[in-house]
Subunit: 211 residues, 2 copies
Amino acid sequence: MTTGEIDESFGGVTPDAARRLLLGAVRAFAERGFHATTTRDIAGRAGMSPAALYIHYKTKEELLFHISRVGHERSVAVLEESVAGTAGAADSAERLARAVRAFVRWHAEHHTTARVVQYELAALGEEHYAQIVVLRRRSEEILRGVLEEGVAAGEFDISDIRGTALAVMSLCIDVARWFSPEGRRTPEEIGELYADLALRMAGHRTAGLPA
Amino acid sequence: MTTGEIDESFGGVTPDAARRLLLGAVRAFAERGFHATTTRDIAGRAGMSPAALYIHYKTKEELLFHISRVGHERSVAVLEESVAGTAGAADSAERLARAVRAFVRWHAEHHTTARVVQYELAALGEEHYAQIVVLRRRSEEILRGVLEEGVAAGEFDISDIRGTALAVMSLCIDVARWFSPEGRRTPEEIGELYADLALRMAGHRTAGLPA
DNA sequence: CTGTGCACTGAGCGGCTGCTTAGCCCCTGG
DNA sequence: CCAGGGGCTAAGCAGCCGCTCAGTGCACAG
């Protein structure tokens, strides 16, 4: 097993020891859950003693918060970049397809980080949770915006825009739960399939036809 | 907060003390996760001492297994009943809509149980997990069967049946993650919306038109 | 060379963990 | 009326928890 999947998101974290602790915590939280992970386990994975953890992070919860914040920032950035510079453009279908493709690929490729990000929210402290919710709202708004523009342009046929946006979001997020690198599909293939499914959900007229 | 949501699924469990322990465990596992839940917490919710737990269940893991088994059996039964007696019938679209409506409603109405059922699988012992996987495969097969019949009958337009079935399944399951009784939608409304979305994903021709 | 600062460790604190055991209470059968 | 037995509890076992602190070793400034 490589750690390449995770390095990418946390490559900018310094010093080196702080990053190693973060990487160890991501794997441990994803495997066992936050509450069931011990500081001894995290420190062990980083090749350090338990006490070293508290030089870089005040508590175990702060470690989770850092993971959650960086993870959310990355996934929102991925979503933002996928539709950047195309706002107001004619082709809403292409924008939606790009957004879903990118968001799904991130959740598949970074499924370990994504699992912590999406399923350990309840373990965050109240104040930290409030900060994360702001980031989550951003990604909802981006997706809803694409759907709204498509409906306004007559490209999409949606009766419940908010509900459909949440459903598409939910579909993408759940990839992190079931995706496995040993599975029969690559992140790219899933992204492609899901982009098509999202277009269908949005009532795009030519959805599903061969390119 | 009432316990009505949970009683329904575990009403048949006897004796009374065993059921009360099961109900306490469901709530505790849903709130904190299996590994982070203590036997003292479970017993406390059932109004008993920690030792009483071990009269009715061998270990904490066996308690999780019982919840997981009953929960899976119920959700598979709901899915089965929703399409019962309609196999081979002309209207595949109606079958798919009924299946998704029922499966989504179960995950919303029983979101506490569903959360444990869907998100604590990894905490099961190897042997118990193997038994649960059999039940999970059943629900996948039911949904895939409906899609296959619809494609064969020319009602649906799907290029990747297995992938689409998994996506619809995933969409329904994820309801358990985000659903809240305090939210703006009822389980019935979500079921209705999702039934329409599933028809669109299946490429049903008249999907989305008013009834 | 010495002095300072800091990442890091070993040992350990009070408290909690899953689970066990010895014994009590009360319902039932005769 | 008493004997038997099962549901239940109080107490406790060995071990682990998050976190702290005094002290160690090393890099670097003067």
